[in-house]
Structures are given as C-alpha cells and as structure tokens.
Symmetry: C2
Subunit: 194 residues, 2 copies
Amino acid sequence: MTRLEQQLTFSRELDKLKGVLRQSMLMDASRRENSAEHSWHLATLAILLVEHVEEPVNLVRVLKMLLVHDVVEIDAGDTFAYDTTHVATQNEREKRAAERIFGLLPDEQGRELRGLWEEFEHRRSAESKYANALDRLQPIMQNLYSGGQSWKKHGVTRAQVMDRMRAVEIGLPKVWPTVLKFIDDACAAGYVQE
Amino acid sequence: MTRLEQQLTFSRELDKLKGVLRQSMLMDASRRENSAEHSWHLATLAILLVEHVEEPVNLVRVLKMLLVHDVVEIDAGDTFAYDTTHVATQNEREKRAAERIFGLLPDEQGRELRGLWEEFEHRRSAESKYANALDRLQPIMQNLYSGGQSWKKHGVTRAQVMDRMRAVEIGLPKVWPTVLKFIDDACAAGYVQE
C-alpha cells in the first residue's frame, strides 16, 4: 500500500469511534455521547482555554493528542471512570488496540500518534497535563447540565468526583475553583452523593 | 462575566452541534453523521494528510479552522451540498449564526475564530484550501463506504459530484486521482448516476 492508502485505511477505521458510547449524556439528555464527538469537544476546549495554563504548551501537540487520545476504544471500548473491575484490565486491552490501530499507518506516523496517546496516558508533559484536565472538565459539564443521570445511575459520591477531578487542579489550576463550584452544584442538586 | 465564564458558556453552546445531522451516514450505515463528529474526523484527516499539501500550511490554523468550521450550523442547520434552494439562503443564515455564537466569546477570541470560519468559507488561503479539500474528501468516503444511500436518495449525478470535488483538486492535487477512482467506483456500483 502507498502511504496515502495506509492513511485513508486508518481514517476509515476511525469512523468506528463514532459508535463507541460513553456514559456521559449530551447536555440536552437526549442520548449518550460518543467518543468521536467527545474528542471534538475537548479539542475545541483546548483552543478556548489555552490562556489559562500555567506551564506553556505547544497547542498543536495538545490538539493532536486530544484528537487521537480515545481511538484505542475502537477495540477496547470506553471504560467508565468509576468502574474498578474494568479499569483493572483497561491497560492491557488498550495496549493491544494501540498496536493494531496505529499499526495501520506508515511506520513513523503511527509511532508519532501512538507516542502522543502514551504521553496523554502518562500525564507528565505540560501538554498531557493540560489535555487530561480538559478530559475531566468536559465530562463534569456534560453530567451537570444533563441532570446528572450518569452519576445517579452509578451512585457516584463527592469523594469519587473530587478524586477524578484532581487532574484539573494539576493541569488547569486557574479553573479548579470553577470545578469545585460544579461539584457543589452537583451535590446540592442531588446528582452526586455526599 | 469573566473570560472563563464566557468561554465555558460558548463550550456549553457547542454541545448542540452534536445534534445537527448531516446527509452523510456513518460508514456502517447505522445512522446519519452529526456535524461534531464530522468535524473531529476532518481534524484527524488534517493531521494525517498534511504531507500531501503543495502549498505549506500552518497546521494549528487548519485544525482550529476545521474544529469550528461548522458551528454556525447550530443555528443555521446543515445545508445539503446539492440542495440549491437552501444553498441560496445559506450565507445570510450562517452570518447571523456566526454573529450570535462567536459573540458569546471574549471579543478578540470571538473575532479570531469567526475570522477562521470566514477564511474557510472564502477558500483563498493555503490553510482554507487544504481544509476545504478535506471537507470534500471525508464525505465522499462516508458516502461510498456506507453504500451510497445519501447519493441515491437525492439522485446525485457524476457531474454534480465532480463539481463538488473540485476543492480536492485545488487543495490536495496529489489526492485527486484517488478521488476520481472513488467517483468511478460510486458510478460503477450504481450509487451515483452517470
């Protein structure tokens, strides 16, 4: 295959991410969100909020990272953040998925994108800390504005949400007070258990 | 409102793009594609195919442009490319939408993103030519691999598809032979009328 054929094969494969459903609902609560539109929403947030980061980031690296950070779910599925059983096997499933999916691309291009996915997972670089903060901030807004259905369904507690949201405190400290307010609102509305 | 509040208000508004349905289907033909996941797919294509452009582009500008190029559809709806009645009123409807939606943002940020949307529409800069080429290439793949339902439903002809695809010849000439092959395949399969 030519490089272009490999790239279009990968792009065709990516279409499947539109069928991977997350636990979060759209804000109008009409249906569950899929991982492709979630990734788009994160990338737009990255453009909007970049002025609030403390450590400077390379925006194009952040965007690439966010746009591909969930593609392993095509094989591995979306793992609900508060589902401890599935979280335990998540790494192994996602690693195999990365092997296959990024392996569809020309070698060095697959390595670059796989590297960005791993960087996102490791949360050490400035870019990945920012990307992870957005990956927490967007779902809390989805959950809050859709009436907390996903939280209620799973009996999620304030301590669990606080723990999950720490990535915002790390990657976007200036947005942390807003997140604390969201958590208070979610508890006050009875969406999240005290 | 603080800048952050304005930005999060805009982000909350963007959620509605996930509910704007296009004529194209997902490749598995299970349902119509929405404009949010379409925008994500275009942005990933922009990352993959940038080596094939002839005029150098600033990738971060291309990504920003593609990520916001359809947000006016939140108010104006998606206009089917081959629907001449709606295409006639499209500009006016989209201009009003841009006013309202980008107007939710802090001034200079709204101006920047609105400017990128206008640049996309005008198709003069290298970035917008590349972005428009991708905005044609992705739907032809959606249509071809989903069995041509959208083309068949609207009785689309080879001449119409050829005309629509010229943006690929302009923005991604190296990919043009592949698109010609896609069109031949679509005609041979009876998805598009000769």
